[in-house]
């Protein structure tokens, strides 16, 4: 796992979560800027996958390989599914779903770090 990317993902997703919950509180829809931020997080997560593959190819191993891999896969799908479910309805709660997805990714990144070393 690449530490710098993990920290970057954590920062972006926590900011995203705060932003989305603020929008939900003000009852505003999810706009392009929010989706762009989610896109940045997703790009970083993809980079993390590539980074992990490179590291493993170089001979490094996760402390718990199976758990690490599952967390990695989950971190990739959480935001797209969350965004899909959030955009399916125009309501406060639906908007908040994307915030939950962002929080889930932040937790998954923390778990990634734990299962890597």
């Amino acid at each position: 796992m690449v530490r710098v990317i993990a920290v970057a993902v954590a920062v972006v997703t926590l900011v995203l979560a705060a932003w989305v919950f603020f929008l939900a509180w003000r009852n505003r829809p999810i706009g392009r800027a929010v989706l762009a931020a989610a896109g940045v997080a997703e790009a970083l997560l993809l980079a993390q996958v590539v980074g992990a593959i490179v590291l493993v190819a170089q001979g490094e191993r996760a402390a718990e390989p199976l758990t690490f891999t599952l967390y990695l896969v989950a971190s990739l799908v959480a935001l797209p599914i969350g965004a899909w479910w959030a955009l399916g309805e125009r309501s406060r709660s639906a908007t908040a779903v994307l915030g939950v997805a962002a929080l889930v990714v932040a937790i998954l990144v923390e778990r990634l770090a734990q299962t890597w070393s």
Binding site: R26, N27, E64, L66, T67, L70, A74, G82, W85, G88, E89, R90, S91, S93, A94, A96, V97, V100, A101, V104
Partner: protein, 165 residues
């Protein structure tokens, strides 16, 4: 809600809110059948389904990994987590179906969860030796921000709430 958008300085809100009110009007015209059809997975229910789905996946996957890699360490805890995971899956599916059957399934799943989290939570505190490793429901779901205890209560409340309106 409409008054809340008024202070905005941009010119767009007026045009933006217009379709929303039209939508609300058509919704009211089609009531009560339409409101019931939108039902469980709509409004706050949408958030509830999302959190349930996260727990369904997390509990099931985690228990599966634990059973594959170290089943002998705490078989009871891992089996209970797997059971909890299956109940979360059933509840999630039930909540996404707004039919009478879906409601009943979701209601039973929530009741089983509440019973499970209270029983296992209490047992885990009374006799720590019973669960050498944490199950989802240990200490009323402390490892998961107590959400395992909150979810079935919210679920049952939501089922009642939507049944009334």
């Amino acid at each position: 809600m409409a008054t809340e958008t008024a202070p905005t300085t941009e010119a767009t809100p007026a045009t933006e809110t217009a379709p929303a009110t039209d939508q609300a009007a058509t919704d009211r015209d089609q009531a009560p059948a339409a409101t019931r059809a939108r039902g469980l997975a709509s409004g706050p229910g949408r958030l509830l389904v999302a959190v349930y789905a996260v727990f369904a996946l997390a509990a099931t996957a985690r228990a599966a990994v634990q059973m594959i890699t170290k089943f002998d360490e705490a078989p009871v805890a891992y089996l209970l987590s797997a059971f909890a995971g299956v109940v979360y899956i059933v509840a999630t599916v039930g909540l996404t179906r707004s039919s009478a059957g879906g409601r009943r399934v979701a209601g039973v799943a929530c009741a089983v969860e509440l019973t499970g989290v209270l029983t296992v939570g209490t047992l885990s505190l009374v006799d720590r030796g019973l669960f050498p490793d944490e199950a989802v429901w240990s200490a009323y779901g402390q490892g998961y921000f107590f959400l395992p205890a909150a979810l079935p209560i919210l679920g049952l409340w939501w089922l009642r709430h939507t049944a009334r309106s």
